[in-house]
Amino acid sequence: MRRICLFLLIMLSIALLFSCGSTPPAATEAVDLTTAKNRADAALAKAKSVKADVSVKADFDKAQAAYTEAGGLASTSGDAAITKYLDAEGLFLVAHDAAVVKREEARKQLDKAKSDIKAVEDEAAALQKEQGGAQ
């Protein structure tokens, strides 16, 4: 009997030990509606600064839709509005990053085009000089 009790006690201790071993969930950051909206506004401005509304219109429009929806929810459901504003923030930042990638690629190709044209001009000038000198 004693042995059985002792065994049960040990098993219980082990079970308690493992249950206490898991870390408690982290407390979620508390974001109020104003902060969420401000973050979404900042992300919107950032996306527009790189003309994401033109270059990655589909992504931008998706973010814009979330932002507009958040605005609609603000008066009725604060929590839902906060979530939507945070979604919009994320989507605007995605649009921003995508636009930056496209812009850099376009700039790279434009710089190469200008460099190629300059090379043609320089070659033509040098050869023209040769022709003039040969006369």
Binding site: K51, S55, A106, L110, I117, Q131
Partner: protein, 233 residues
């Protein structure tokens, strides 16, 4: 109307002095510049996909412009060498090489004809190589070419009409068919430029383009009304 428009255009081109002898003044170069401008506009507007596509087209046209320039320069160099080879053959004739050394003379003249054919076929690299080979074959006349009153093209006497004209490079007044036809020793009438073009277009760098003639190019001046023509200028 079409003829008038063509003549007017040629006048404008000659008057402006922006003839096609300016190597970079070709359609590909102009397109590359235009596409670059469009790319910059699109970039400014935020249409990065369009900006990239325009930039790639600009690069493509810049490459085509480079090829065009390379071809024109190759044509110029080949023509210059052909003129020198022809002059050297003239000297060889003067010194009676045909009798003294017929093998070399015949090889040189045959090679010269081959080089001319290659030029007409726009194989400028081979034409240049063969023309240089002619000069090498007739090397003994190299010194004579430098010292003697060379096989200088006989200068026309007043009133004489020439049968050949060598295109000059004068940046101030560029040669063009319109101007050449207007010379007293050619036709004295610029509107007759087309006769020169029709006679020579097969040897033009671009046969369909009467505006493109290169320095050193020899133009045959056909007789229009049975008038006697001789000499070169």
């Amino acid at each position: 109307m079409k003829k008038f428009a063509g003549v007017f255009l040629l006048t404008l081109v000659c008057a402006a002095g922006v003839f096609a002898q300016s190597l970079q003044d070709n359609e590909f170069y102009k397109k590359s510049v235009e596409f670059t401008r469009l790319a910059e506009q699109a970039l400014e507007a935020g249409d990065y996909d369009a900006a990239r596509d325009y930039a790639l087209k600009a690069q493509e046209n810049a490459a085509l412009s480079k090829n065009y320039i390379d071809e024109m320069v190759a044509a110029y160099r080949a023509r210059t060498a052909l003129n020198a080879a022809r002059a050297r053959i003239g000297l060889a004739d003067r010194y009676n090489m045909k009798t003294r050394n017929p093998d070399v003379y015949n090889s040189a003249t045959a090679l010269y004809k081959k080089a001319e054919g290659e030029f007409t076929a726009r194989d400028y690299a081979q034409s240049l190589a063969d023309a240089r080979q002619v000069l090498e074959l007739l090397k003994e006349f190299e010194a004579a070419a430098g010292t003697a009153a060379p096989a200088p093209a006989p200068t026309p006497t007043p009133g004489q009409r020439i049968s050949r004209y060598v295109v000059k490079l004068n940046p101030a007044l560029r040669d063009c068919l319109w101007r050449i036809a207007g010379f007293d020793f050619v036709y004295g009438d610029s509107t007759k430029w087309r006769f020169i073009y029709d006679e020579n277009k097969s040897s033009f760098p671009q046969p369909e383009n009467p505006e493109l003639i290169v320095p050193g190019q020899v133009l045959k001046i056909p007789s229009l009304s049975g008038e006697a023509r001789s000499g070169e200028r």
